[in-house]
Each structure stands twice: as C-alpha cells, then as structure tokens.
C-alpha cells in the first residue's frame, strides 16, 4: 500500500520543476498557446486582418427570403471569344510561370527601394541617336542647354536667398503664443478642451523643459558697471584725484602682497654665493678624511694630573635612598592637598561671586554674538564681489582704470586710445561667471623637417628650393 502511494506521488506532476537547462525548459513549459497565437497572427498577416475587412467581404445580405421563389440566376451571356481575343486578354496578365515569384503574403515589403533594373530604352539606341543628331542640327538641344543654365542660376540664387532669411528678422517672436506652437496636437486646439487636457497631451519630445535658473553671480552682477566719474575725458580735479588715489591704493596693495609673497617664499631661504656653496660642499665631503696637520689649530696643552680622563665618562646610576624618596612623596602629597583646599575654598567664594560671573558670561556671550554677526556680514560682503572659481585659473580681478593726466587734453579731438574694450568685455564675462577663466593657449606651429630621399636624384632646382627655405628661416 505504501509502495503504491509512493508511486502515485512520483507520477504526479511536480509543482516546482527546475527549468535550469534549455532541455528542461522545453520539457516543462507549455508553449502551445503562444505558438497558436503566433500562428494566428501569421495567418492574419497573410490573409489580412479579420476586423479590418469590409463588411461586404464577410457578410452577404440575404435577399432571398424563404417564402419567395428563387429567381432563375441571370447569367451574363458569355460570347465565345475568338482565339486571338483570348490571347490578347492574356497579354495583360502575368504569366503563369511567374506567379510563383509574386508575393502571396499581405505583409508589406520592408525594403521598398530595391535596385532598379535599367529599363529598355535607357541606353541610347540607334534610333534615339539619330533623333538626337537631328535635334542638334535643328538647335533644339542648345536651347535646352541654355534653359538648364538659367535654371541652375535661379536655383543658386534661391538657395542664397533662403540663407539670408536668417538675417531678415521678419517676425515678432514675442507674439502671443499659439496653441500649436506650444506643441499641443491640432485636434485638441479647441475651446472646449480644458487646458489641463491640452497640456497633458503634449508629446514628450515637444514638452518644454523649464530652464534651470542662471547662476547667482550672473543674475546679480551688472553687465556694465557704472563708470568712475574720474574716467571722464575731461574730469573735474577732485574726481580725477580720487581715481588716481584709488589706483595708488590698489597698486600699494599689490606691492604689499608681492612683498609678502617674497618674504614667505624666496626670502625664507638663506642665500649662499657660489663660492661659499662650493666651500660648504668641500667641507661636507671631506669629513673624516685625514687633514693636514696645522699646529695653530692644536688645542692648548692642558695641565694634566697624569690621570686618564675619558672624553665622555660613563653615566652612573645613582640610587635615591629611603629618606629622599619619603621626602619626595610627602612633598607631592602636600601639593595635592593644597590644591584641593584651594578648590574647596573657591567653591565657597564663588557662591558670593555669582552675580559677577553671570555678568561676565553675558558679556562674553554678547561679544561672541557681535563677532559672529560681524564676520557673517563681512563674509556676505566678500561673497557679493568674490570672483567665481569655475576653473583652475582665476579670472582677473577688476582693477581701477588708470587715466594718465598727460592724455587728458580736454577736447575730443586729441583723445588717444588706451584701453581695450574687447578684453574688458571678455573679463567682465569671466567675472560674472558666464565663462570659466582660461588662459588662451597658443598653438605651436609644427616644424617640418625636410630632407632628400636617399637615392633620389637631386636636381639643381631642388637645391635652390632648399636653400631658399633655409634662408627664410
């Protein structure tokens, strides 16, 4: 009994089967329905879709009622065609032998553009050659040629004109926007369709992405800074002096900074002349070598008591005795006790000093608060004019413009050019963060080596050319 039950369980379909390998997958998966569906689809493709077919094809209006007598079928009178006629009718049909080649499927040709075979007549035949000759003699062809020339010219002009349309600026782009221009499909451009529905149906490719906001530096900083009144071509004395003093201050600041840098870098290292350096090197290298005896360098002969004395006598480990140790310990303890007593005493006195302590704390707090606000305001101020760091290069700082008093003639006629407006603009863009500061790298011209190919016959001309090239360099 038990055996039998075991057998039945074995034959029973297992709930979970491994579909690890391809074979086991095929074995355990039922794909009949999929295949059936695919078969259906293929059939549909071949014969056309069932639901797309017109009703006339699928249904017949049953006009013959059950009770009405059937009319005798009217047959079109077929006249027997003659053999010739039958043949002629067959001419239009595709030959039977080619019917196999025709596509039976309703699936459209995926590659419509096949190589076209040249038709008969594309090659000039004897007849066409003759007609051409005739036309040439008549002057028809030359007329055609002229016509094509004119046409070509017209086409080029048209193209050129279409290019200059860009420069005509012939529309108001700030018109009220039409719905179609927003990308809303035409079918929904109706007053009865709610705006939500319209916007919802804008295709994703046409949906306008909100432009992220510009960097803050670009929004807050003016493109054209207000000029200092001292840069006028005919400034008042005070304003010009103010400008000059600004320039001087700036220059002093720079000099101070340069001096600081020098002090911190180059001046940190002591300078040694070449001779000294060599001497030092010689000394270092000759350490340990036997020096020539110099009697003046000899140490003074000390009065010796005929006892040997080492240059570095050995260290003795002298032990402390008990008394010394006790004294030391007692001292330490005393120190500790005094310290504790002091703390205890301070605790009591602090109770009376509470008000003062509170006051001092308050003062400290207020001082800190003040300091933090001051620092914050300073930081803010600095951030408002700070140069944006967008690159490893720093944009050039704005310098006050120096107007040489010598060039101020007071009239427009003798004005001379000193500043470079383009560079000014470029730097302004960098300072506002529209451009990452960069150093313009110059391209190096590659030097071409020229030489004579071995085995090449060198003519006099070649030599002349070579010499000319050398001269040019």
């Amino acid at each position: 009994m038990t055996v039998k039950t075991a057998k039945t369980t074995a034959t029973k379909k297992r709930k979970r089967v491994s579909k690890k390998s391809k074979a086991s997958w095929r074995k355990h998966c039922d794909i009949n329905d999929v295949e059936e569906f695919l078969e259906d689809q293929r059939l549909e493709e071949r014969l056309g879709k069932f639901d797309e077919k017109p009703d006339e094809e699928l249904f017949i209006v049953d006009t013959t009622g059950g009770d009405v007598d059937e009319k005798p079928e009217v047959k079109p009178d077929l006249k027997a065609k003659s053999f010739k006629e039958r043949k002629r009718a067959q001419l239009a049909e595709t030959p039977k032998c080619f019917e196999v080649l025709l596509p039976t499927s309703k699936v459209q040709d995926p590659n419509k553009k096949r190589n076209t075979v040249k038709q008969v007549g594309s090659k000039p035949s004897d007849l066409s050659k003759l007609t051409e000759k005739r036309q040439l003699s008549k002057g028809v062809l030359s007329r055609k040629l002229e016509q094509t020339k004119v046409n070509r010219k017209l086409a080029i002009q048209k193209k050129k004109k279409s290019k200059t349309v860009r420069q005509s600026f012939d529309k108001n782009i700030w018109d009220a926007p039409t719905l179609e221009s927003k990308g809303i499909p035409e079918t929904l451009c109706n007053e009865f369709v709610s705006t939500e529905a319209q916007l919802h149906n804008v295709p994703t490719t046409k949906r306008i992405r909100a432009k992220p906001q510009l960097p803050k530096t670009l929004l807050t900083r003016a493109a054209i800074e207000v000029p200092h009144p001292g840069v006028s071509y005919n400034p008042s004395y005070q304003e010009h002096q103010a400008l000059l003093s600004e320039v001087v201050q700036h220059e002093q600041k720079m000099m101070k900074r340069q001096a600081h840098l020098n002090r911190v870098t180059t001046n940190m290292f002591s300078k040694v002349t070449q001779g000294e350096k060599e001497k030092q090197w010689q000394e270092e290298m000759s350490v340990g070598l036997p020096q020539p005896h110099n009697p003046s360098n000899d140490p003074d002969p000390e009065p010796s008591d005929n006892e040997y004395k080492a240059v570095n006598p050995p260290v003795k480990n002298k032990k402390k005795d008990h008394k010394a140790r006790r004294k030391q310990r007692e001292q330490l303890e005393e120190k500790e006790r005094l310290k504790r007593a002091k703390i205890e005493k301070k605790k009591i006195t602090d109770l009376y000093r509470l008000r003062k302590i509170q006051e001092s704390l308050k003062k400290q707090e207020s001082r800190q608060c003040e300091r933090s606000t001051r620092l914050a305001s300073k930081r803010e101020e600095k951030a408002a004019t700070a140069l944006p760091a967008l690159n490893k290069h720093r944009p050039p700082e704005k310098e006050p413009e120096f107007v040489d008093p010598a060039i101020l003639t007071g009239d427009l006629r003798n004005l001379t050019n000193t500043s470079n407006l383009l560079r000014d603009r470029f730097e302004s863009l960098q300072r506002r963060g529209a451009l990452a500061a960069s150093k313009v790298m110059m391209k190096k011209k590659r030097k071409l080596k020229s030489y004579f190919k071995p085995g090449h016959k060198v003519t006099e001309q070649d030599i002349k050319k070579y010499i000319q090239k050398l001269d040019k360099k």
Binding site: I156, K159, T164, R166, Q167, S168, F169, D170, K171, N172, W174, T205, R209, K211, P212, L214, T217, L218, A222, A223, I224, V226, P227, H228, P229, V231, S232, Y233, N234, P235, S236, Y237, Q238, L390, N391, K392, E401, V403, I407, G410, D411, L412, R413, L415, N417, T418, S419, N420, L421, L422, D424, R425, F426, L429, G433, L435, A436, S438, V440, M442
Partner: protein
C-alpha cells in the same frame, strides 16, 4: 534581506553636479560644439557649495555643470544640427584633401545653417526680459561693428552688427529714449529708457582698428556670443520698429547692405556712410501718426501713498518731457574735426536737425551758409569765417545739456573757452548726503546759487572798497526811488476815490447806509496757521514713527541716526568753509587797505 547599499555620491550634491568631461560624454559632442551650444543656450558653469562633494571626491578645481542644465541641453534640437554639421565638415575636409575643389565648393554652398530664433524666445520669454539683458548685447555689437573681417569671426558678422546697431540707434531716435550720455576715455556711455527698462551701453571711440593680442581674448568665444546677440538685437529691433509704427527693414544707405560690401573698402568711407545713414529719416507705416505724447501720470491710490514720492515722480516726468524736445526745431552744423557719430545720434534723439560739410562727407542735409543754423559745433580754438546768426559751441555743451536736461548757458562752452569738467551722470542719487563744496554744487546744479551773495568774480572782488560803497549807495538811492514811487502810487489811488467823494457827499452817505442795512458780511477764510500745521504734521509723523513694526524698528533707528550724523557732518563742514571764506576775504580786505594806506602815504 539587507537593502542595497547606497553608492556614494549617488544623491545630494554629488549627483547634482557634473564635470565638463562627463557632460561632453553624455551629450556626445566635441568640446568646441559644447562650448558653442552652451553660449547659445545660456548654460553656464556653476560653483558648488562643497566642491569636494560635487566633484565626487576628486581634488582640484574642475569646471562643473548642473546635471539639470545638461539634461536641459539634451533636449535641444540644435544638437542634431551640430552633428549634421560635423558630417559636413568631414566631407569638406576629405574633399579638400582629395583636391576635389568643385565638390568642396558645393559642400560649402550647401552648408546647413543653424536657426536659433527659438532659443531667443526660450531665453527671453517676454520682450522686457530681452531688454533687460541688452546691455552686454549692445556693447558687444557696437564693438564688433568696428572690426574688420578677422580670422575667427564669420565674415558676415561685423557687417550685420553694423546694420543692426544703426537700426537700433534709429529706434532710439524715433522713440526719443536716450536719457544720459557720458564721454569717458574708454568710449561713450549711453543710457536709454525703453519700456521702463534702463539700458546702458558703451560705444568705443572711433579709432582705427588696433590688432588684438592673441593671448588676451578668445575670439572664437566672443564671436559665438555675438552670434547670439545679433539674433536678439534683430528681433528687438523688429519689435521696437513696429511699436513705433516704422517700417522694419529700414532702407538705409548702400554701405550697410551686404550687396555693396565690395565697393566700400575704405574705412573712412564706411564711417561716413554709417553717419549718413543715421541722419536719414526712416519710413513710417502708412496711415500711422506720430507717437503721441504720454499723458500725465495718473494718481492711483496705492498703499504706499507717499506724496513726496509722487511729487518727485511727477517732477521727473516733467523733466523728461522737456528733455525729449530739447533740441526741437534747432539746426546744428558739425564742423569736420568733431566726431560726428555721437553728436548726430544725440542731437537727433532730442529733435534737432544736423548737417555737416557737404564736400567732405556724404549725407549732408543743409549747407554751412544756411542762416537758420542755430549752433555750430566746433572743436578748434578759432575760425576764420564766422556767422553772426549762430553760436559756436564746443561738443561738450551737447553732452552736458543732455545730462542737465536743459539747454545750458553757452558762455562756458564757446569756441576756444576752457571747458568746465564733464561730470558723470551715473552718480548714485541716493548717496546725496555728502558734503559738496559750493563750486562742485554749482557744477552739478546749474540753478544753484551760493547763499551768501558775494560777488564771486575776482575782478569785482578786486574792485576797491570805495567803489563798493558807492555801489551800495547807488543801490540805496535806487531803492529809495522805488519806495517813493510806490508810495506815490499808493497815494494816487485813494486820491481818485476822494475825487469821487467830493462830487456828492450826501448821496454817498445814503448809499452807505443802505449798504450797511443790506450788507452781507464777507466770510472770513479760516486762516491756516503755517506754524501750527507744521507742528501737527510733526506730531503725525512721530505717531507714524511709533507704528513702525518691531521687526524694522532698529533698522529705522539706525537709518535715522545715520542721516542725522551725516547732516551734522555736512553742517559742520559748511560752517568751516564759511568761516574760512570769511577769514580769507577779511585778510584780503586788510591787505588791500594796507596797500591803499601805503599808496596814500606815498
């Protein structure tokens, strides 16, 4: 199950930013194209709050972009255009290398152009937005209009810049929108007001082109900026012309059209053409009238109803109204040594008519011999032939008049005179609480008169005291005469009445009595006591001060304290100056008296 571990920098600032290299990879563009499209679309590198995190732990300073910015770029159809261009460039390169020049030429002629007008609309959704960002655009366009064709700049760019800038100037002239001018060493600063937006731009002085140092400016980048700005300026011009009822592509002189490019090689001829173009009047749309004068400011009841502010705004509007027609009906003749472009622009902006020497430059409208010329602008110390019917002034008179918003007296600006300084009109009016010596105040405000009516001219000061006394005596005499005359007049008028009375006193009496009976006592108008009113106003002001919210109280207090302090400083300095002046004048007097005494003794 343990949840998947979050990767570092997949959220937060690390995910928000992208290095330029990553952006290039994402967009599949070359650096050149990326730069171009960034400038066109207005995408700029960003500065992160925490660089270390934004660079995903990498050191150094890298150029970072917002990931959102790059995603925004990803949807731009122009990117596909750029890729197409790349193919074209490859074809051209290949054709050149294969020496198939015909093919190459064909590729060049078929080279697709990028249309960027949708970007203009996208970056500036409204016209006002475009106007707000016009400063940079105008300055660069004016600058590029002076450039010859350069290596990295497309050929048509500078020509287009020339055309568009002249068109823009015409729009400003038609709208009478110019407000301020400042001639600096760098160039001319102009400020105009269009649709409530102030636009400032710089026009360089016209010098011959100076070749730029190659390592100073990246021309390629600047020309890309200009490429976009040209588009903006074109559409702004179109809109401006239409709002002014003008025909948009105005028919200007031949030099500004692309067809005539070859004929005008000479730089001077080009400048002449340009100025001539500015002096032309442009066609109006048929059936349109002149732009009507703006009506007076309507008063709306707003919450912030500050009568002082309203008054100020009204005054300002009045001034601008005067400014707009400052030169109307006046004829100007510009001598040939004067830079014509700024002057023609400015004078025409305020309704004047301009002409110049017909023999030297094209486009003159009337001759020098025209008697109706009111002003001739000269920049030389003297002239041989002068007309009596006109004033000969230096060009600075025009600039200063515009800034002062009235026609300044010409005596300081006559030919050969040493000019007063040209002051900047761009001074912050809010920082007016500073001490100004009276000389400077007189410069800034033509109506200012020093309070102490001392004759400032040295000559008069040098006049002897006696003369002064005489003068005062004379004045006294005149005054006395005037007083006498007045008294006589007063006496005369009642005397006439008396004559009437003499005729029949009885009748008169009866009439008087009747009158008395019928009399309607004249109403006495309630006299407004000015002092009382002042006190009331002050009280009201104090009450309002008390109503300042607590939040702003400290700020208000500090502001007031600052004002007081500055006032006091000014007062102190003025007093100092007064004392000093008095001392100086007294010393002078003493010296003179001494000299006189000496002279008498001798």
């Amino acid at each position: 199950m343990v949840s998947k571990r979050k990767k570092k920098y997949s959220t937060g600032e690390g995910a928000q930013f992208m290095t330029r290299k990553a952006a290039l990879k994402k967009l599949q563009l070359s650096l050149k194209d990326f730069r171009r499209i960034c400038i066109l679309k207005g995408i700029y590198p960003r500065e992160p709050r925490n660089r270390k995190r934004a660079q995903k732990g990498a050191g150094g300073i890298k150029t970072l972009y917002h990931t959102k910015d790059i995603k925004f770029l990803l949807h731009e159809p122009i990117i596909w255009k750029l890729r197409e261009l790349k193919v074209f460039q490859q074809k051209i390169r290949k054709a050149r290398a294969m020496r198939e020049y015909g093919k190459m030429r064909k590729y060049f002629s078929d080279y697709p152009e990028i249309n960027i007008d949708h970007i203009v609309k996208e970056r500036y959704p409204t016209f006002v937005d475009a106007l707000r960002d016009l400063d940079d655009c105008l300055t660069l366009c004016f600058l590029f209009s002076t450039f010859p064709s350069l290596k990295r700049v497309p050929r048509d760019q500078s020509l287009l810049c020339r055309r568009l800038t002249v068109e823009f100037m015409h729009a400003i002239i038609a709208a009478k929108a110019l407000r301020k001018v400042f001639v600096s060493v760098k160039g001319y600063y102009y400020q105009a007001e269009i649709e409530g937006q102030t636009i400032t731009w710089i026009v360089p002085h016209h010098f011959s082109f100076k070749p730029q140092n190659k390592d100073e400016v990246d021309f390629k980048i600047m020309s890309t900026f200009v490429e976009f700005y040209i588009m903006v300026l074109g559409f702004v011009n179109f809109k401006l012309f239409h709002s002014l009822n003008l025909v948009y592509p105005p028919k200007l002189t031949a030099g500004l059209n692309s067809d005539a490019e070859k004929d005008l090689v000479d730089e001077k001829a080009y400048v002449a053409e340009r100025v001539a173009a500015m002096n032309m009047s442009i066609a109006r749309v048929a059936g349109s009238n002149e732009a009507e004068e703006l009506p007076d400011i309507d008063v709306f009841n707003t919450e912030d109803n500050d009568p002082e502010k309203m008054e100020e705004a009204k005054k300002e509007a009045e001034k601008i109204k005067v400014l707009k027609t400052m030169f109307k009906g006046l004829k100007f003749f510009i001598n040939r040594e004067v830079p014509r472009e700024p002057l023609v622009f400015i004078i025409r902006c305020f309704g004047g008519e301009v002409s110049w020497d017909r023999d030297h430059f094209v486009g003159a409208t009337f001759d020098e011999s025209d008697e109706s010329i009111a002003y001739q602008i000269v920049d030389r110390p003297s002239m041989d032939k002068q007309y009596l019917s006109r004033y000969y002034v230096q060009p600075q008179w025009v600039f200063d008049s515009v800034n002062a918003r009235t026609l300044l007296p010409i005596n300081k600006y006559l030919m050969g005179a040493v000019l007063p300084p040209h002051l900047s009109p761009f001074i912050d009016k809010t920082k007016d609480q500073v001490y100004m010596p009276p000389e400077q105040r007189a410069l800034n405000d033509p109506n200012f008169k020093p309070l102490d009516d001392e004759p400032s001219d040295e000559e008069i000061e040098e006049a002897s005291d006696e003369e002064k006394e005489e003068q005062s005596e004379q004045e006294d005499g005149e005054e006395a005469l005037a007083r006498q005359y007045k008294q006589e007049m007063e006496q005369d008028s009642p005397s006439e009445d008396d004559d009437d009375d003499d005729q029949d006193p009885d009748k008169k009496k009866a009439a008087k009595e009747k009158k008395k009976a019928m009399a309607v006592t004249t109403g006495v108008p309630v006299k407004e006591h000015p002092y009382k009113k002042e006190i009331e106003d002050k009280q009201a002001f104090r009450l309002r001060e008390k109503l300042v919210p607590k939040k702003h109280r400290n700020l208000y207090k500090s502001m007031k304290a600052g004002q007081e302090k500055r006032k006091k400083e000014i007062w102190l300095l003025r007093k100092k100056r007064r004392l000093h002046d008095e001392k100086v004048s007294e010393e002078k007097k003493a010296v003179k008296r001494k000299q006189k005494m000496q002279a008498l003794e001798a």
